[in-house]
């Protein structure tokens, strides 16, 4: 099997699985218990937290463990909106956010907040001037993703942070679920107030997310019923998952530069292959992540392509896994301004550490073959 769906989830590191198993077996006490077994488990969580702070170079904030990227995004956005609604009721995000951000803002609109959804260019990038125009003295939150999960475009987080320094009332949240371990992030230097991550996107276990919250920010919690995670998230912590996630984070940050160096040429190669197939159109443009490629077969149902690739042992994806079960055209692609046909026919390929040049060749061959087979049926399948 060639697994090309790293944006949806990644194969865990061997060592991470081992950690998970050992901690699960030996550290089963509740980390909130007062006895030694409990405090030992608690120290493991604190050591994990310290590891995150050290490796992501934060000195003046706290790291909160959650159940995943979706919860981190929900907690950050709702937590800020509900806590600081008294300061203003205007929020800003983009049209191409992951559903866990986008739908959360939609829900807040129902609660009476006004939300600006910034448009993006054809390449999938917001324009900083448009953000500046949207900011008002009522804006309390700006949420922009780092790497887009469908097309891989990289947003100018550093410049946004610099701009927002002039708007002290507006807090800055970054959904970095796709970028931790892929791109360098300077949380404090860039003026980021909140940052979401997810362990299973960086070869850690599922069920663990993290959220950085700058010092002196208070979040309105999503859950009630316990004072875990500095009172931000009630519920017994997932000790083995958290420790294993810290390890996965360390390992993927250790190999960040090497990963970029390895993946960039692979992406270039795949772009060449796809550009050589006239039926396919590439979506998005640089600056973009080295591990994501997105293309459309306009007029073709993407599910058909996915299933035909599957017959070649290749796992690719339509749009975001979180919204791949509905068959509407992709909201992200529509935001790029592509045609309805192209937006409905998107395929995402995302690769990881295990892939080599010959895997890209195999994918290329399979793609050519699939397109050959489908071409005669183009009109009938739509």
């Amino acid at each position: 099997m060639l697994y090309f769906d790293h944006c949806a989830s990644t194969p865990p590191y061997e060592e991470v699985v081992k950690t998970m198993m050992e901690v699960m077996k030996s550290q089963y006490a509740n980390p909130s218990s007062l006895h030694r077994a409990g405090t030992d488990a608690d120290k493991l969580i604190e050591r994990s937290r310290a590891l995150l702070a050290e490796r992501l170079q934060t000195t003046n904030g706290k790291w909160i463990f959650t159940s995943g990227g979706t919860e981190s995004n929900n907690l950050a956005i709702k937590g800020i909106a509900r806590q600081y609604a008294g300061r203003g009721k205007h929020l800003i995000t983009t049209q191409i956010e992951h559903a866990s951000v986008y739908d959360t803002f939609a829900q807040l609109e129902q609660e009476g907040f006004r939300v600006t959804y910034l448009p993006v260019s054809e390449s999938g990038h917001i324009r900083i001037e448009q953000l500046e125009e949207a900011l008002t003295d009522q804006t309390i939150l700006v949420s922009v993703m780092h790497i887009n999960n469908e097309i891989g475009s990289i947003q100018p987080i550093e410049q946004i942070g610099r701009l927002l320094k002039r708007y002290p009332k507006a807090m800055f949240h970054v959904d970095a679920v796709q970028s931790i371990g892929k791109l360098p992030i300077c949380i404090e230097e860039w003026g980021i107030d909140l940052l979401s991550g997810s362990a299973h996107k960086l070869r850690g276990p599922k069920g663990v997310g993290f959220l950085y919250v700058r010092e002196s920010i208070t979040l309105y919690p999503l859950f009630t019923g316990g004072s875990q995670e500095y009172g931000n998230r009630a519920g017994t912590q997932n000790v083995p998952g958290i420790v294993a996630s810290a390890k996965a984070l360390r390992m993927s940050l250790d190999s960040l530069e090497q990963r970029e160096r390895r993946m960039r040429p692979l992406k270039q190669k795949l772009i060449q292959i796809i550009s050589g197939i006239p039926e396919l159109r590439l979506n998005g443009a640089d600056p973009s992540a080295a591990h994501i490629i997105h293309f459309s077969y306009p007029g073709m149902k993407p599910e058909v392509i996915i299933h035909m690739l599957e017959q070649h042992g290749i796992m690719a994806s339509t749009k975001s896994a979180c919204s791949s079960k509905d068959d509407k055209p992709s909201r992200v692609l529509l935001a790029l301004g592509v045609s309805h046909e192209q937006a409905a026919g998107g395929v995402r390929v995302s690769f990881g550490d295990e892939h080599e040049e010959r895997d890209i060749d195999a994918l290329g061959a399979a793609l050519r073959h699939v397109v050959e087979q489908l071409k005669p049926l183009e009109r009938r399948l739509t």
Binding site: E15, T19, E22, V23, Q27, L34, R36, T39, D40, K43, L44, E46, R47, S48, A50, L51, V243, A244, A246, K247, R250
Partner: protein
């Protein structure tokens, strides 16, 4: 400024201390000259080194220095570069040149004009003010190099570590005692910390907390600190059994001083530092301190005695102990608190109660014997840092 023969000793200590603090930076060079210590970075970034040195005791101020060859044009260029790189442009300045290398062609007075004039031509909005300049640009001309700088960052002040002898610090885990320890270190005292624990009435976390505080203090001294962990349960429960509730704190504190005195003797210390502040609690009124203090003949140093709580808290925040101090783990001082502790204890009654406790002396000796010693270094790993197996992380 320290005068006479002490000065050499202090400067030597200072150099050792700076070297120790910067030990992780390879090929940094050091040399002393006229009460100044020069640290040649040799490519290391300035900021982290300055941050570390700022916290070292015995340093009055530190300055980033440009070194250049002792040639007029190069000195002028260095001076101008410094002036133009100031974070905020001053309105006035002056140049204070010092020609230590007498073969340099221009004397100090001439250099003031030659360098000052050059800066003025390039920055015409500046004015010279000889008596009260905003920036005093110093030019130190030596044979091997010229140093151009201005005083910027105030140092922590005080004396180099251990230049004034050794004392025991009563370290409870609260807000005050770490601050008292920091002030003692600043005055050049070497300290050994003494902590009393009453397991199982106090928890493991209370001990971890004290280790963390001692670690923070050792960061400032740059040297490991010895931490004495005294088992106090027996004594404390015995005193509770003596049934004079309102005197219990007085009796506890007297026992602590006696134990500390014995520890001081064994470790060559000549005083006891405490975090007491006048009137803060019942045991810190003058009548209380009188009765408590008589339990030891050693000098008791109380650097916080006349400070207000908010001043102490501000210092605790500045030295980075506050966050640890307010962790909610009970220490033995807050156990068995009576409803109304006396603010005016009677010495004779206290002595009488102690005399009636069977084996009082033996209990103290047993506590001293049972004391556990830990060496806490600035790089010592905490309980969190060593949690679990290293291979898990």
């Amino acid at each position: 400024m320290v005068k006479g023969r002490n000065r050499n000793r202090f400067e030597k200590r200072m150099l050792d201390q700076v070297k120790q603090a910067l030990i992780s930076y390879e090929n940094i060079a050091y040399f002393k000259s006229f009460g100044r210590l020069y640290v040649k970075l040799n490519g290391h970034p300035y900021e982290p080194v300055a941050d570390r040195l700022k916290d070292l005791f015995g340093i009055v101020s530190l300055s980033p220095v440009r070194s250049t060859e002792p040639e007029l044009e190069k000195i002028r260029a260095a001076a101008l570069a410094i002036m133009q790189a100031l974070p905020e442009q001053p309105a006035t300045f002056k140049v204070s040149a010092k020609r230590a290398w007498k073969k340099f062609p221009h004397n100090s007075q001439e250099m003031n004009h030659l360098v000052g004039g050059h800066v003025l031509r390039a920055m015409p909005e500046l004015k010279v003010n000889v008596s009260k300049p905003e920036i005093e640009l110093r030019v130190d001309i030596q044979e091997e190099a010229t140093y151009v700088y201005y005083d910027v960052i105030p140092g922590a002040g005080g004396f180099p570590f251990a230049s004034n002898g050794k004392a025991m610090l009563l370290l409870s885990g609260g807000i005050d005692s770490p601050v008292a320890g920091w002030l003692a270190l600043r005055k050049g005292l070497e300290i050994e910390a003494v902590h009393f624990h009453s397991y199982p009435f106090t928890s493991e976390q209370a001990k971890d907390k004290v280790i963390e505080l001692a670690k923070r203090l050792s960061y400032f001294s740059g040297e490991p600190i010895k931490l004495h962990l005294v088992p106090f349960t027996e004594i404390q429960t015995t005193l509770v059994g003596a049934k004079s509730d309102n005197l219990i704190i007085t009796l506890m504190r007297r026992a602590m001083l006696r134990i500390t005195e014995q520890l001081a003797e064994r470790n060559g210390a000549f005083g006891i530092v405490t975090g007491e502040s006048l009137g803060q609690v019942a045991s810190q009124t003058l009548p209380s301190m009188n009765v408590i203090g008589r339990a030891t003949e050693l000098p008791q140093l109380k650097p916080l005695i006349m400070m207000d709580k908010h001043e102490i808290i501000r210092l605790a925040e500045r030295i980075g102990t506050y966050e640890t101090s307010i962790l909610p783990y009970e220490d033995c001082c807050t156990l068995f608190l009576p409803k109304s502790p006396t603010t005016n204890p009677n010495l004779r009654i206290a002595e009488k109660i102690e005399a009636l406790i069977p084996n009082y002396k033996q209990l103290l000796t047993a506590a001293v014997e049972g004391t556990e010693q830990l060496m806490i270094s600035p790089v010592a790993e905490t309980a969190v840092q060593t949690a679990g197996e290293d291979s898990w992380f």
